[in-house]
Amino acid sequence: MSATTTQKRGLGTVIWDYMTTVDHKKVGILYLLFGGIFFLMAGVQALLIRTQLITPENDFVSAGLYNELITMHGTNMLFLAAMPLFFGLMNYVMPLQIGARDLAFPFLNGVGVWLFIFGGLLMNSSWFFGGAPDAGWTNYAPLSTQSPGHGVNFYVLGLQLAGAGTIISGINFIATIVLMRGPGMTYMRMPLFSWTTLVTSILILFAFPAFTIALFLMQFDRMFDTAFFDIALGGNSIIWQHLFWIMGHPEVYILVLPAFGIFSEVIPTFSKKRLFGYTAMVFATFLIAFLGFMVWAHHMFTVGLGPVANALFAIGTMAIAVPTGIKIFNWLLTMWGGSIKITTPMLYALGFIPSFTIGGMTGVMLGSTVADYQFHDTYFVVAHFHYVIIGGSVFGILAAVHYWWPLMFNRMLSEKLGKLEFWLFFTGFHLTFFIQHFLGLMGMPRRYWVFLENQELDLGNLISTIGAYLMGIAVIVLLINVVLSYFKEPAPRDPWDGRTLEWAVPNPTPYYNFKHTPLTRGLDPLWIEKMEGDGKIKPAEPLHDLHMPYGSILPFLMSLGFTIASFGFIYQLDGPHGRILIYIGMAFAIGCMIVRSLKDDYGYNIPKEVLEKEDD
């Protein structure tokens, strides 16, 4: 009987275990869990938006509520759903893929996840404290600085916390990949998902601090009466737009690069062929990231930056089509000559290619300055970014969830339900968003609470809403699938005939990942062993004691402290109780930090003798 087999434990123990965990796999699952919850919430908000727009001049929701809905939908989806879901996958899979036992900073990993969770809960709690933020996910000043109530304050502080967690994770991933790759796992042999994790983290590292500053400026303006965006005192609201998009554009590549990584794992696996043009794929990833930093002003073509700036940013924007195209064609050529097996993950990959290509192409159209004068802030843009985000990121996440589910939860998801879910989602998605291109060109701006009668926009909006409901059904099918899987037999090891290291660990994954340090002999190490050897990864060194970190409740408490302080900041203008909360929260958080630095944590060893008894 393996020692790692989970005995039935009380719910309390499990929860405590997760609250104190620093194990990258459990942290990953926390990310997935809360990212999933936020995704459902944001999805329901999307359905409410679409319901409001089902007929002209509908009054299903009020104008103010509508703005809150789109703001929360956008913010939740991007910062609290899509990104954390990717973080969950990265956390779980990346160390396994490169042959590492954990991330470089397990404790910080805990801090990162709890900051994200508390930040997200803080922002979403705004519904119960007098209204959510309502200035759009872009939160442009001065609309946001003038927005009454506390809504925008929740946006600022919620994202500040979640953003801090994000930066911490980014640093952690980079350090892990640079320093902890297993023997033989050179950069040129790293699986693409790990590569995209690295590049995504670099993007985060350079993009998010700009947003941190933007949020600080916003916070100071709203809570301490500074004048950054106050035109009367010489402020300038365009600064917000620049700082926001310096983060905002790289953010969209943060959302799509990991999906590219996922497809680069899924497509070779189910085509039984190695990735075509591996080198070019890695380089294209870098190039996208590199160019991604020089195009932020394409969201500001109509701001009046002048023709020179507009032209310059148009050039940069379109340049990104080139590396992305390289990727698309390399995926196609990976399948060419392969032996394609259509499973649910592969279906998503196949659905991704045409959908994302359409989205990318509308992106290029938006990049053409003069055309963008018509497109900007219309449903054409809405269509564009849902095509790339859903067709790219969400398909990627769904593919990954089906693909790595057996690895993470030791169960298979039903293929039948999976395929049903795909078809519903795929059809619903195109139905919802394809028509929106035309709605935009027919004169429907985005963020419109109502559209008017007699403007020939009715049919398009109706179709769009129907599509959204189809997607809703698809998500419910997924949920059913997840629930049903719990009652199934344990999954076999390596069920997809995988190529990379994560499939070489026993199922369920032991908490120390690899008993033997795995030896990587080339690209797709497991595949190589299957072709040239006995299908088993060779140990790089003899078995020895393993050093592991202790769990800790401090990350949880520290994040809790910051959250309390954030509430204080939000309410400090309303009276002394706010300020008291700030002091309590900060003291609590700083106290945790001091405890952390005073209390030594050397970790523990798993003795060799214990390991010897475990499965390989």
Binding site: A104, A210, A227, F228, D600, Y602
Partner: protein, 214 residues
């Protein structure tokens, strides 16, 4: 988890008989920390770059209030620059002694670093107080005021954080001496401190020198 063997501090002792090593990077954790802090400083650079950008965009938006030329005086700022540059140097000495496994001297130089940092902070507080009382120039006066106090104040905040960190570090380890567990912590602190110093040089140039010229 029953199969654990607790590790003691003894595992982190430095063996004085062996050839001198860099104790801050003798363990894997030390190496990770060393890289980690560098990456962190990379993101801090973007943080300050954004603040500099904001400051440059708003530095002439004085809304009728005091301008850069009205406010800045070079003597104090020059002194502050000297203080901070020296403190960077003393932290280099401290790290030098750390690598020679001379804990006492390291603590001494770290202490001096801290004192210089404190002196810098005092000057900064005096400077702000001076602007507020003598010119009525606060961070609510104008967009320029907001940008100035935010940029310089953010740097000041980093100094405060650095100092608290240093104090905790020095007090915690005063009795126990140097080992490969705490050496990386000193090392990361020193790197962080250098970074603060470099940022100040930029503040000195971009804010004060360029502000004097107008």
């Amino acid at each position: 988890m029953s199969h654990q063997e607790t590790i003691g501090r003894s595992a982190h002792k430095i063996n004085p008989n062996k050839a001198p090593i860099d104790p801050s990077r003798a363990t894997p954790e030390g190496k990770y920390k060393h890289l980690g802090i560098w990456i962190f400083l990379g993101s801090e650079t973007v943080l300050f770059a954004s603040l500099f950008g904001t400051y440059i965009a708003l530095k002439n938006s004085t809304a009728g209030g005091p301008t850069t030329q009205d406010l800045y005086g070079l003597e104090l700022v020059f002194l502050m620059t000297l203080l901070l540059l020296t403190s960077s140097l003393t932290s280099v000495y401290a790290i030098y002694h750390m690598k020679n496994n001379n804990f006492k001297k390291m603590q001494l130089w770290m202490g001096i670093t801290g004192l210089l940092g404190l002196a810098f902070l005092a000057c900064e507080i005096y400077e702000f107080a001076h602007y507020i009382t003598d010119y009525g120039f606060t961070f609510r006066s104008s967009a320029f005021g907001s940008a100035f106090y935010t940029l310089v104040g953010f740097h000041g905040g980093h100094v405060i954080f650095g100092l608290s960190w240093l104090i905790v570090l020095m007090m915690r380890n005063a009795k126990r001496g140097l080992d490969t567990y705490n050496a990386p912590k000193y090392n990361t602190f020193a790197l962080y401190w250098h970074f603060i110093d470099v940022v100040w040089v930029f503040i000195f140039t971009v804010v004060y020198l360029m502000g004097m010229v107008g």
